[in-house]
Amino acid sequence: MHQVILDRLEEYLSGSPSSREFTTHLESCEECRAEVQEMKELSGALSALRAPEEITPSLGFYAQVARRVEAQRPRSPWSWVWLEPAFGKRVAFASLMSLVVLGSYLITRETEYSAGPPRPEAIMAQQAPADNPDMILATLASYEP
Protein backbone atom coordinates (compact mmCIF):
# COMPACT_ATOMS: atom_id res chain seq x y z
CA MET A 1 0.00 0.00 0.00
CA HIS A 2 1.23 3.46 -0.85
CA GLN A 3 1.98 6.24 1.62
CA VAL A 4 -0.82 8.54 0.47
CA ILE A 5 -3.35 5.83 1.32
CA LEU A 6 -1.68 4.97 4.62
CA ASP A 7 -1.89 8.60 5.70
CA ARG A 8 -5.62 8.91 5.17
CA LEU A 9 -6.82 5.33 5.64
CA GLU A 10 -8.35 5.79 9.10
CA GLU A 11 -10.20 8.93 8.06
CA TYR A 12 -11.52 7.16 4.97
CA LEU A 13 -12.68 4.13 6.96
CA SER A 14 -14.37 6.43 9.49
CA GLY A 15 -16.43 7.91 6.68
CA SER A 16 -14.76 11.33 6.67
CA PRO A 17 -14.56 13.05 3.28
CA SER A 18 -11.47 11.81 1.44
CA SER A 19 -8.86 14.16 0.05
CA ARG A 20 -8.53 14.61 -3.71
CA GLU A 21 -5.06 13.07 -3.59
CA PHE A 22 -6.45 9.99 -1.81
CA THR A 23 -9.30 9.36 -4.26
CA THR A 24 -7.13 10.03 -7.31
CA HIS A 25 -4.56 7.50 -6.14
CA LEU A 26 -7.22 4.95 -5.27
CA GLU A 27 -8.67 5.25 -8.78
CA SER A 28 -5.31 4.73 -10.43
CA CYS A 29 -3.75 2.06 -8.17
CA GLU A 30 -5.49 -1.29 -8.42
CA GLU A 31 -3.34 -2.80 -5.66
CA CYS A 32 -4.30 -0.17 -3.09
CA ARG A 33 -7.91 -0.18 -4.21
CA ALA A 34 -8.26 -3.94 -3.60
CA GLU A 35 -6.64 -3.79 -0.18
CA VAL A 36 -8.63 -0.76 0.95
CA GLN A 37 -11.82 -2.44 -0.22
CA GLU A 38 -11.09 -5.52 1.91
CA MET A 39 -10.26 -3.37 4.91
CA LYS A 40 -13.47 -1.40 4.43
CA GLU A 41 -15.55 -4.59 4.38
CA LEU A 42 -13.92 -5.86 7.56
CA SER A 43 -14.34 -2.46 9.18
CA GLY A 44 -18.07 -2.73 8.53
CA ALA A 45 -18.15 -6.30 9.81
CA LEU A 46 -16.64 -5.20 13.13
CA SER A 47 -19.74 -3.14 13.82
CA ALA A 48 -21.52 -6.47 14.42
CA LEU A 49 -19.88 -6.39 17.85
CA ARG A 50 -21.86 -3.36 19.00
CA ALA A 51 -24.23 -4.22 21.83
CA PRO A 52 -27.75 -4.60 20.43
CA GLU A 53 -29.34 -3.14 23.53
CA GLU A 54 -28.47 -1.66 26.88
CA ILE A 55 -28.27 -4.05 29.81
CA THR A 56 -28.67 -2.40 33.18
CA PRO A 57 -26.56 -3.96 35.92
CA SER A 58 -28.60 -5.31 38.84
CA LEU A 59 -28.80 -3.21 42.01
CA GLY A 60 -26.69 -5.66 43.99
CA PHE A 61 -23.96 -5.87 41.38
CA TYR A 62 -21.26 -4.33 43.57
CA ALA A 63 -22.09 -6.76 46.40
CA GLN A 64 -21.63 -9.66 43.96
CA VAL A 65 -18.28 -8.27 42.84
CA ALA A 66 -17.21 -7.89 46.48
CA ARG A 67 -18.20 -11.51 47.18
CA ARG A 68 -16.21 -12.70 44.19
CA VAL A 69 -13.20 -10.67 45.30
CA GLU A 70 -13.39 -12.27 48.75
CA ALA A 71 -13.68 -15.74 47.22
CA GLN A 72 -10.62 -15.17 45.03
CA ARG A 73 -8.50 -13.39 47.64
CA PRO A 74 -5.29 -15.34 48.25
CA ARG A 75 -5.21 -16.80 51.78
CA SER A 76 -2.45 -17.89 54.15
CA PRO A 77 -2.18 -21.67 54.72
CA TRP A 78 -3.54 -21.23 58.28
CA SER A 79 -6.53 -19.09 57.42
CA TRP A 80 -8.79 -22.09 56.76
CA VAL A 81 -8.46 -23.08 60.42
CA TRP A 82 -10.24 -19.85 61.40
CA LEU A 83 -12.60 -19.82 58.44
CA GLU A 84 -13.85 -23.38 59.16
CA PRO A 85 -14.87 -23.32 62.88
CA ALA A 86 -15.75 -27.03 63.02
CA PHE A 87 -12.41 -28.03 61.61
CA GLY A 88 -10.64 -25.54 63.86
CA LYS A 89 -12.30 -27.11 66.94
CA ARG A 90 -11.13 -30.56 65.87
CA VAL A 91 -7.58 -29.29 65.41
CA ALA A 92 -7.69 -27.66 68.87
CA PHE A 93 -9.03 -30.87 70.47
CA ALA A 94 -6.38 -33.01 68.76
CA SER A 95 -3.66 -30.60 69.94
CA LEU A 96 -4.98 -30.75 73.51
CA MET A 97 -5.07 -34.57 73.46
CA SER A 98 -1.49 -34.68 72.14
CA LEU A 99 -0.41 -32.40 74.98
CA VAL A 100 -2.11 -34.62 77.56
CA VAL A 101 -0.48 -37.80 76.16
CA LEU A 102 2.95 -36.18 75.96
CA GLY A 103 2.58 -34.75 79.47
CA SER A 104 1.58 -38.13 80.92
CA TYR A 105 4.57 -39.78 79.27
CA LEU A 106 7.00 -37.20 80.64
CA ILE A 107 5.56 -37.47 84.15
CA THR A 108 5.92 -41.26 84.05
CA ARG A 109 9.57 -40.93 82.99
CA GLU A 110 10.15 -38.45 85.78
CA THR A 111 8.77 -40.95 88.33
CA GLU A 112 11.18 -43.61 87.11
CA TYR A 113 14.18 -41.29 87.58
CA SER A 114 13.02 -40.09 91.00
CA ALA A 115 13.74 -43.57 92.48
CA GLY A 116 17.42 -42.65 92.30
CA PRO A 117 20.36 -44.35 90.66
CA PRO A 118 20.48 -48.15 90.81
CA ARG A 119 22.40 -49.76 93.62
CA PRO A 120 25.92 -51.21 92.90
CA GLU A 121 24.73 -54.72 93.43
CA ALA A 122 22.14 -54.33 90.73
CA ILE A 123 24.72 -52.96 88.30
CA MET A 124 27.10 -55.79 89.07
CA ALA A 125 24.36 -58.28 88.53
CA GLN A 126 23.58 -56.80 85.10
CA GLN A 127 27.08 -56.16 83.82
CA ALA A 128 29.20 -59.06 85.11
CA PRO A 129 28.68 -62.72 85.67
CA ALA A 130 28.74 -63.71 89.32
CA ASP A 131 31.55 -66.23 88.83
CA ASN A 132 34.14 -63.57 87.78
CA PRO A 133 35.53 -61.94 91.00
CA ASP A 134 38.03 -59.70 89.12
CA MET A 135 35.28 -58.09 87.15
CA ILE A 136 33.27 -57.53 90.32
CA LEU A 137 36.27 -55.81 91.95
CA ALA A 138 36.84 -53.61 88.86
CA THR A 139 33.21 -52.60 88.79
CA LEU A 140 33.22 -51.79 92.50
CA ALA A 141 36.42 -49.73 92.13
CA SER A 142 34.95 -47.67 89.26
CA TYR A 143 31.57 -47.17 90.90
CA GLU A 144 30.71 -43.64 91.79
CA PRO A 145 27.47 -43.10 93.67
Binding site: M1, H2, E10, E31, E35, M39, S47
Partner: protein
Protein backbone atom coordinates in the same frame (compact mmCIF):
# COMPACT_ATOMS: atom_id res chain seq x y z
CA UNK B 1 0.30 -5.59 -2.75
CA UNK B 2 1.67 -4.21 0.48
CA UNK B 3 4.93 -2.92 -0.95
CA UNK B 4 5.47 -0.44 1.84
CA UNK B 5 4.09 -2.40 4.73
CA UNK B 6 7.36 -3.94 5.75
CA UNK B 7 9.21 -0.64 5.80
CA UNK B 8 6.56 1.57 7.29
CA UNK B 9 8.24 4.50 9.01
CA UNK B 10 7.10 4.68 12.61
CA UNK B 11 7.40 8.31 13.74
CA UNK B 12 7.10 10.07 10.38
CA UNK B 13 3.78 8.75 9.16
CA UNK B 14 3.10 10.67 5.99
CA UNK B 15 3.11 14.34 5.31
CA UNK B 16 0.98 15.52 8.19
CA UNK B 17 2.71 16.32 11.43
CA UNK B 18 0.77 14.51 14.09
CA UNK B 19 0.36 16.21 17.42
CA UNK B 20 1.47 14.22 20.40
CA UNK B 21 -1.49 14.37 22.73
CA UNK B 22 -0.43 12.90 26.03
CA UNK B 23 -2.79 13.33 28.94
CA UNK B 24 -1.49 13.37 32.50
CA UNK B 25 -3.82 10.77 33.98
CA UNK B 26 -1.87 10.56 37.22
CA UNK B 27 -2.77 14.09 38.25
CA UNK B 28 -6.37 13.99 37.12
CA UNK B 29 -9.46 13.39 39.27
CA UNK B 30 -9.51 9.85 37.93
CA UNK B 31 -5.87 9.47 38.95
CA UNK B 32 -6.72 10.43 42.53
CA UNK B 33 -9.51 7.84 42.58
CA UNK B 34 -7.18 5.15 41.24
CA UNK B 35 -4.50 6.00 43.80
CA UNK B 36 -7.06 5.63 46.59
CA UNK B 37 -8.08 2.24 45.20
CA UNK B 38 -4.43 1.25 44.91
CA UNK B 39 -3.93 1.99 48.60
CA UNK B 40 -6.77 -0.40 49.47
CA UNK B 41 -9.66 2.08 49.80
CA UNK B 42 -12.76 -0.08 49.23
CA UNK B 43 -14.98 2.98 48.73
CA UNK B 44 -12.77 4.11 45.84
CA UNK B 45 -12.99 0.67 44.26
CA UNK B 46 -16.75 0.74 44.65
CA UNK B 47 -16.82 4.13 42.91
CA UNK B 48 -14.83 2.68 40.01
CA UNK B 49 -17.21 -0.28 39.70
CA UNK B 50 -20.30 1.89 39.79
CA UNK B 51 -18.86 4.36 37.30
CA UNK B 52 -17.80 1.80 34.69
CA UNK B 53 -20.23 -1.10 35.19
CA UNK B 54 -22.65 -0.02 32.44
CA UNK B 55 -19.83 0.36 29.93
CA UNK B 56 -18.39 -3.05 30.85
CA UNK B 57 -21.83 -4.67 30.51
CA UNK B 58 -22.24 -3.11 27.09
CA UNK B 59 -18.82 -4.30 25.83
CA UNK B 60 -19.47 -7.84 27.07
CA UNK B 61 -22.96 -7.98 25.64
CA UNK B 62 -21.65 -6.85 22.25
CA UNK B 63 -19.01 -9.58 22.10
CA UNK B 64 -20.62 -12.49 23.91
CA UNK B 65 -24.34 -11.91 23.28
CA UNK B 66 -25.27 -14.46 25.93
CA UNK B 67 -27.34 -12.23 28.18
CA UNK B 68 -27.23 -14.72 31.06
CA UNK B 69 -23.43 -14.74 31.13
CA UNK B 70 -22.89 -10.97 30.89
CA UNK B 71 -23.17 -10.34 34.62
CA UNK B 72 -20.90 -13.26 35.50
CA UNK B 73 -18.18 -12.06 33.12
CA UNK B 74 -18.57 -8.49 34.38
CA UNK B 75 -18.04 -9.69 37.97
CA UNK B 76 -14.86 -11.44 36.89
CA UNK B 77 -13.68 -8.30 35.06
CA UNK B 78 -14.04 -6.17 38.19
CA UNK B 79 -12.44 -8.86 40.36
CA UNK B 80 -9.44 -8.68 38.01
CA UNK B 81 -9.51 -4.89 38.21
CA UNK B 82 -9.47 -5.16 42.01
CA UNK B 83 -6.49 -7.52 42.12
CA UNK B 84 -4.42 -5.75 39.46
CA UNK B 85 -5.18 -2.10 40.13
CA UNK B 86 -1.84 -1.80 41.94
CA UNK B 87 -0.16 -2.55 38.61
CA UNK B 88 -2.02 0.24 36.79
CA UNK B 89 0.71 2.68 35.77
CA UNK B 90 -1.33 5.67 34.46
CA UNK B 91 0.15 5.37 30.98
CA UNK B 92 -3.37 5.02 29.61
CA UNK B 93 -6.78 6.11 30.83
CA UNK B 94 -8.52 3.86 33.33
CA UNK B 95 -11.31 3.04 30.86
CA UNK B 96 -8.76 1.91 28.24
CA UNK B 97 -7.22 -0.42 30.80
CA UNK B 98 -10.63 -1.74 31.92
CA UNK B 99 -11.67 -2.07 28.26
CA UNK B 100 -8.65 -4.28 27.57
CA UNK B 101 -9.36 -6.48 30.61
CA UNK B 102 -13.01 -6.78 29.54
CA UNK B 103 -12.20 -7.77 25.95
CA UNK B 104 -9.63 -10.33 27.14
CA UNK B 105 -12.12 -11.78 29.59
CA UNK B 106 -14.72 -12.13 26.81
CA UNK B 107 -12.27 -13.96 24.55
CA UNK B 108 -11.24 -16.19 27.46
CA UNK B 109 -14.90 -16.98 28.05
CA UNK B 110 -15.48 -17.81 24.37
CA UNK B 111 -12.36 -20.01 24.26
CA UNK B 112 -13.31 -21.91 27.43
CA UNK B 113 -16.82 -22.34 26.15
CA UNK B 114 -15.51 -23.80 22.91
CA UNK B 115 -13.19 -26.21 24.77
CA UNK B 116 -16.06 -27.30 27.06
CA UNK B 117 -18.22 -27.92 24.01
CA UNK B 118 -15.50 -29.98 22.31
CA UNK B 119 -14.90 -32.08 25.43
CA UNK B 120 -18.63 -32.62 25.87
CA UNK B 121 -19.14 -33.56 22.23
CA UNK B 122 -16.20 -35.98 22.25
CA UNK B 123 -18.21 -38.12 24.69
CA UNK B 124 -21.25 -38.22 22.44
CA UNK B 125 -22.07 -40.23 19.37
CA UNK B 126 -22.47 -38.47 16.00
CA UNK B 127 -26.27 -38.66 16.23
CA UNK B 128 -26.24 -37.20 19.74
CA UNK B 129 -23.95 -34.35 18.65
CA UNK B 130 -26.30 -33.53 15.78
CA UNK B 131 -29.28 -33.54 18.12
CA UNK B 132 -27.51 -31.27 20.64
CA UNK B 133 -26.46 -28.82 17.90
CA UNK B 134 -30.03 -28.55 16.75
CA UNK B 135 -31.23 -27.63 20.22
CA UNK B 136 -28.43 -25.16 21.11
CA UNK B 137 -28.87 -21.42 20.60
CA UNK B 138 -27.87 -20.31 17.11
CA UNK B 139 -24.90 -18.36 18.47
CA UNK B 140 -23.01 -21.62 19.05
CA UNK B 141 -23.67 -23.32 15.76
CA UNK B 142 -21.25 -23.71 12.89
CA UNK B 143 -23.64 -22.02 10.49
CA UNK B 144 -25.98 -19.74 12.43
CA UNK B 145 -29.29 -19.08 10.78
CA UNK B 146 -29.22 -15.40 11.57
CA UNK B 147 -26.86 -13.52 9.28
CA UNK B 148 -25.87 -10.98 11.93
CA UNK B 149 -24.84 -13.72 14.31
CA UNK B 150 -22.90 -15.48 11.56
CA UNK B 151 -21.08 -12.24 10.80
CA UNK B 152 -20.32 -11.75 14.48
CA UNK B 153 -18.89 -15.27 14.81
CA UNK B 154 -16.78 -14.67 11.71
CA UNK B 155 -15.43 -11.37 13.10
CA UNK B 156 -14.65 -12.99 16.46
CA UNK B 157 -12.65 -15.69 14.70
CA UNK B 158 -10.67 -13.05 12.84
CA UNK B 159 -10.08 -11.00 15.99
CA UNK B 160 -8.72 -14.05 17.78
CA UNK B 161 -5.86 -13.99 15.22
CA UNK B 162 -4.49 -10.58 16.27
CA UNK B 163 -2.71 -9.51 19.44
CA UNK B 164 -4.55 -8.25 22.53
CA UNK B 165 -3.38 -4.70 21.87
CA UNK B 166 -4.43 -4.77 18.21
CA UNK B 167 -7.80 -6.23 19.16
CA UNK B 168 -8.42 -3.51 21.74
CA UNK B 169 -7.45 -0.74 19.33
CA UNK B 170 -9.63 -2.14 16.55
CA UNK B 171 -12.62 -2.46 18.85
CA UNK B 172 -12.15 1.02 20.31
CA UNK B 173 -11.99 2.42 16.79
CA UNK B 174 -14.68 0.40 15.04
CA UNK B 175 -17.12 -0.51 17.80
CA UNK B 176 -16.75 2.46 20.15
CA UNK B 177 -16.23 4.91 17.28
CA UNK B 178 -13.13 6.56 18.77
CA UNK B 179 -11.00 8.72 16.52
CA UNK B 180 -7.25 8.30 16.10
CA UNK B 181 -6.73 11.42 18.21
CA UNK B 182 -8.92 10.06 21.01
CA UNK B 183 -7.12 6.72 20.87
CA UNK B 184 -3.80 8.54 21.20
CA UNK B 185 -5.10 10.34 24.30
CA UNK B 186 -6.58 7.18 25.80
CA UNK B 187 -3.52 5.01 25.28
CA UNK B 188 -0.80 7.59 25.78
CA UNK B 189 0.64 6.69 22.38
CA UNK B 190 1.54 8.92 19.46
CA UNK B 191 -1.15 9.37 16.76
CA UNK B 192 1.23 8.02 14.15
CA UNK B 193 1.88 4.95 16.26
CA UNK B 194 -1.86 4.39 16.56
CA UNK B 195 -2.25 4.64 12.77
CA UNK B 196 0.56 2.16 12.17
CA UNK B 197 -0.78 -0.27 14.76
CA UNK B 198 -4.29 -0.06 13.34
CA UNK B 199 -3.00 -0.53 9.81
CA UNK B 200 -1.02 -3.64 10.77
CA UNK B 201 -3.99 -5.01 12.68
CA UNK B 202 -6.22 -4.48 9.64
CA UNK B 203 -3.70 -6.22 7.42
CA UNK B 204 -3.67 -9.21 9.76
CA UNK B 205 -7.46 -9.31 9.69
CA UNK B 206 -7.46 -9.29 5.88
CA UNK B 207 -4.93 -12.14 5.76
CA UNK B 208 -6.87 -14.12 8.37
CA UNK B 209 -10.06 -13.58 6.39
CA UNK B 210 -8.39 -14.82 3.21
CA UNK B 211 -7.17 -17.96 4.99
CA UNK B 212 -10.55 -18.50 6.62
CA UNK B 213 -12.34 -18.19 3.28
CA UNK B 214 -9.92 -20.67 1.70
CA UNK B 215 -9.93 -23.27 4.48
CA UNK B 216 -12.54 -22.57 7.16
CA UNK B 217 -11.70 -25.70 9.13
CA UNK B 218 -8.05 -24.71 9.56
CA UNK B 219 -8.52 -21.18 10.79
CA UNK B 220 -11.74 -21.49 12.73
CA UNK B 221 -11.54 -20.98 16.42
Amino acid sequence: MGTLTGTLPLPAFGSRVAVKTRVDYQNSQEGALVRRAQSGDEAAFREIVEHYQSKVFSIIHGIVRQRNDVEDIAQQVFAKVYFSIRNFDFRSSLITWIYKITVNECFDYLRKKKVRKLVYESDLSEDEVRRVENTEPSVDRQAPADETLARRDYVLKLLSRVSEEERTLLLLKEVEGRSVEELAQMTGMNENTIKVKLFRARQKLVKAAQRLDRAPGLVAG
